[in-house]
Structures are given as structure tokens and as C-alpha cells.
Symmetry: C2
Subunit: 320 residues, 2 copies
């Protein structure tokens, strides 16, 4: 099985590679990154991993890579997936989500490569929703309210057109907030964990944690359950369809903070930073995972408590 | 009043300039085109028209133009607006609709230029609709089913984000099929007119007209009524809102063909070309213009019969 993975240096790709090492099948992976490889491929033995440094906006380079590797599957993880970044650099966010995807699928179309494509979307696509609409199903309307969310809706619409209009084999996700060990601390849970571990390791230092709005409710799902879903969708998803990937449970950032303080057994002071509060942010997002559970048998293995413990342990090693 | 007009060489821009010559106000226009000017600005006296040849994808050039001209109004008409082209060149269609708009508004944001922007959208954004949803209002859901339509929905979502998230002064349209003298014959009505005029002028030649699916129903509106609406929206539209521009009446291509044959007093033979039938095309689109009529007092001046007569007369001059 020949898999092309974009964004290979990223958090999700690294967990996907670890997942592949535990499967019985044999895989040949071509990983694409923007820069030099940021990982040692030996840790994923016996996977065969090639690496290519490619700008996904460069049509010729993308075409050359596709002709060379002839992927049977494309897991397109490359993305600038931060909502905060998208408010500061909307054009950059749009181009590095929508346009890189469009270049990829259009080259696959032009080269007529029989390749199943997984297009990653986001729960942010749903936008500001009222509580009566929860949990969000794949039928819920999309009202994106950040530049990042607009880029993801555009990508999903492009996927639909290429699947329905050109008959290409594309499956789409709306992935809810994933968390897990290894995530950068531009993302909220990882940022909290890093700050809390630092406090736990330095009892004499200050006990202040800087946060945005802790009332925000999100549906968190462990990255290891997410990559399991991606594999399942690549193998058994239905062409042209979209699948939520989520836990089905809403948790506030305050609850996460309290749980992590409990795991670390510390008391802290909270400081709210207005710069971390985004224009017109979604208050509450909870998804329904019924479709992927009922149609494809996906189950969630990792509890929120285990996720948070693993994230804290990962930062303990980094902070040590 | 300083107006920047992109796509200045195009069909709609030329009619907009003609409209401005009839107003009492004084205008300074900077027209942007991709190539050399394709018109003589003297015909639009006493308008002051500057011209700039700029690639709207070039961020620096766009920024320089904005800093130089400091527009109070931006009428963004540049677009590759053919659905057919978008199926053949989806990437080109997307970039030359969505990305050029994104570059423009993002530069205006970064340079903090107080400028009212009119973002042109399309009735194609509504996509495949059932007859029970007709006429389409601005509240109707968007289900785009061509690459061009996806690009226009993306542009509209970007407009909403820049208006709601950054407070920029952007108004959006969903413009239905416009027709009128001067339109290129890649568009269906103009193509019919050209072929019929040729037949009328050459009685001894063949009487066959090549068409796509004549059962398709569209809401046609004369370009001169469209540019009047654009001017009204620039002056009095409400920031962050979207307005249909349409006639409110559906007409089949067969009816148009019959009317034009009647005007020219000819009989013809029809030949359907499968290449002109697009994948999953919309069968029927009719809009409601109630919002722009009721809120802003727009009225349609030009009947379908007058439009068709003027189009035929324009081709008669060209074919002569």
C-alpha cells in the first residue's frame, strides 16, 4: 500500500506513522514536508519512508512527485491549522489550506492517477451554532466565522466538486479539536499543559497561568483515535462523503484546566489575556460521531483523562 | 468620488463607465486590467480614467496601486466568470476569482485604506435547487455544483469574514445571468445571437444553430440594470450584507431562441452538442430581487425583449 502523506513533520502525521507500524499490512510512505525532515524515520521501522521537500503551491514539483511515487492513497495533512494565526494572516492561512489542496487534487486529476484522497476538514467549519443544534451532525449547516474556517469550507467544497463532477475518489472529514502528546503549544490544551508542568516543576516560581476565555466548550478527541479514523476512512470510507471525527462530548477549557491541576496536584492563579480572545469566536462546539461509528465501526479508545495524563507526561519529559 | 475598478476591459465595466458618464457627480476612475487597455477612454468623457496593468495576484503591485490611488470605492469586476471554463481549468478559475479578491481585500486591510468594496458574486452559488425553493432569496442555502460556483462562494465567505471580523466595509452581490450588447460569445445568449445574425445575414447559407440543453431556465437581467444596481449598492448598500441582482423571472433558453428568431424573422434548425452540456448543471434558477428593490429602491428599466433586440443589433454591426 503506497501512501503519500503531506505535512509529514506535523503532529498528526507523526501519530499516523506510529499507527501504521502497528498494522499487519506493508506500507510504502512518501512524506512531504516544507523543510528538512524533523524526525528520525528509524523510529517507525519497519515502515519504508521516503521524504521529499516540496512546496505544495508549486504545480510542477507536485506533478513530478505524483508521477514518481504514484500513490494509491493520499493523506493530506499539510495545513496551517491555527484559528489565531488565520486572524493575523488570513491570506497565508487561506493559501496554505485551500490552494495547496486544490493544486494537489488538480494535479492528480490532470495526471489521471487512481488515488484515494482523504481531505481533512475542521469542526470550525460549522461556525457559530446555537445550543439547539447540538450535537452537530454532517447535515448541520456551515457558517464559518474565521478565516481558517472559510479556508476549510472552501477545501471541502472543492473536494465535493472533484468527487461529484470529475468522479474522483475523495473522502472528507470534519475533525474536531484533537489533542495528544507532541502537539505544539500554540494550541490551547498543550499550552495549558506546558505552563502547568512548569509550575509543578518549579514550586518556588509564580503560579500564574495565562489563558483566553475558559468558558469556551469544545469536543476534544485524542490524536491517536483521530489517526485510527483516518486509516479507517482511507480503507473503507465512502467516496464523496464527509465524516465528523469527534468524541460526542463537550468539555469547557475550565474543566480541562481543573483536571490537569488535579493530575499534577497543584493550585494556580488564572490570568485572562485579552489578546488570546478572538473576534467572534464560537462559544460551544459538540459533534456527533454517529456516522463514522455506525457506518464504519470506529470506536474511541482513549479517554479524556488518559489524553491529559499523556500530554502532561510528554511536557514533563520536555521540561525536565 | 475615487473609484477603483478591476476588470476594466470587461463587458460589465464598460457598461458601468457608460453609466457613470450619465451621473451628475464627478468621478476619478482607476481601471485595472491584465493586459493593455482594450477601449478608448475618450468615449467615456468627461470621466477621468487612469489605467494600470496589474496582476491582481501580485501582492506588492496591488499594494502599490492602492497606496497611489487611495480609492474610496472598489468595484471588483475582474473574474473568469465562465462555468464551462471552470470545469476545464478549475484551478485557474478558482485562483482568478477567489485569490485575486482575497489579495485585494487583504492589502486594503493591511494598508488601512477606508474604502467601500463591492464583491461580485453569482447566482451559480445557489447550485442545484428544487422548484419548491424558488424564487431564491438571499436566505436560501448555497450548494455550489461547479468549480466557478465554489470560487464565488469562497469569495463571499471571505467577504463576510473581512466585514464581520475586521469591520471592513464590504457589500456582496449574487448577480444572476446578465446579458446585453458587447458580451463575448462564450456566454450562451450572445453565442445564440451571433449565430442567428449570421444566418439572417446569409440567407443562402446553412440554418443550423449549435446549442447545449435548451430546457435550462435562467433569470436573465440586462447588464445596464446590473451596473445601475452596482452603483446603488456602492452608494447605499448595507455593510456586510448580500443582495441578489436579478429580474425575478425565469426564462428557458428555448424561449430566448424563439424570441430572437422572431426579432430576426428567421427559421432555423437546432443541433444539440453534447460538449456544451456540463456535468451536473443546474436545471432552473430564478431569483428574488425583493431585497434590493424594497431596501434600496432598485428598479429594472430594460425588458427582456429590449435586451435581445439590442444584443442582436450589436451583432448586426459586428457581423456587417
Amino acid at each position: 500500500m503506497r501512501i503519500l502523506i503531506t505535512g509529514i513533520n506535523g503532529f498528526v502525521a507523526q501519530h499516523f506513522l506510529a499507527f501504521l507500524t502497528k498494522q499487519k499490512e506493508e506500507f510504502t510512505v512518501l512524506g512531504i514536508g516544507r523543510s528538512e525532515p524533523a524526525f528520525d524515520s528509524k523510529q517507525f521501522a519497519p515502515l519504508k519512508i521516503e521524504y521529499a521537500q516540496v512546496d505544495l503551491l508549486n504545480r510542477k514539483d507536485v506533478g513530478d512527485i505524483l508521477k514518481h511515487f504514484k500513490p494509491q492513497y493520499l493523506l493530506h495533512l499539510a495545513s496551517i491549522s491555527s484559528v489565531g494565526h488565520s486572524w493575523k494572516n488570513p491570506n497565508d492561512s487561506f493559501v496554505n489550506n485551500t490552494n495547496i489542496f486544490l493544486n494537489l487534487v488538480d494535479q492528480i486529476r490532470l495526471l489521471d492517477i487512481p488515488c484515494r484522497i482523504l481531505s481533512i476538514g475542521s469542526s470550525e467549519e460549522y461556525g457559530n451554532v446555537s445550543e439547539t443544534q447540538l450535537p452537530l451532525t454532517e447535515e448541520s449547516p456551515l457558517h464559518p466565522i474565521s478565516p481558517y474556517a472559510v479556508a476549510r469550507v472552501s477545501q471541502e467544497m472543492i473536494s465535493k466538486i472533484y468527487a461529484d463532477g470529475y468522479g474522483m475518489d475523495i473522502i472528507m472529514t470534519r475533525s474536531f479539536n484533537h489533542i495528544g502528546p507532541g502537539q505544539k503549544n500554540v494550541f490551547v490544551i498543550s499550552s495549558f499543559a506546558k505552563q502547568l508542568v512548569h509550575i509543578a516543576n518549579n514550586p518556588s516560581a509564580g503560579k500564574t497561568v495565562i489563558t483566553g476565555d475558559l468558558g469556551i466548550i469544545r469536543d476534544f478527541v485524542d490524536v491517536r483515535d483521530v489517526v485510527k479514523a483516518y486509516y479507517l476512512l482511507l480503507k473503507e470510507g465512502k467516496k464523496g462523503e464527509v465524516y465528523n471525527i469527534c468524541s460526542g462530548t463537550g468539555v469547557s477549557l475550565q474543566q480541562i484546566m481543573d483536571k490537569m491541576c488535579g493530575i499534577l496536584n497543584i493550585n494556580i492563579t488564572l490570568l485572562q489575556d485579552a489578546n488570546l480572545i478572538r473576534p467572534n469566536d464560537n462559544r460551544i462546539i459538540i459533534g456527533s460521531a454517529d456516522k463514522i461509528k455506525n457506518k464504519l465501526g470506529w470506536i474511541q479508545d482513549i479517554s479524556l483523562d488518559k489524553s491529559l495524563t499523556d500530554i502532561i507526561n510528554w511536557w514533563k519529559e520536555k521540561d525536565a
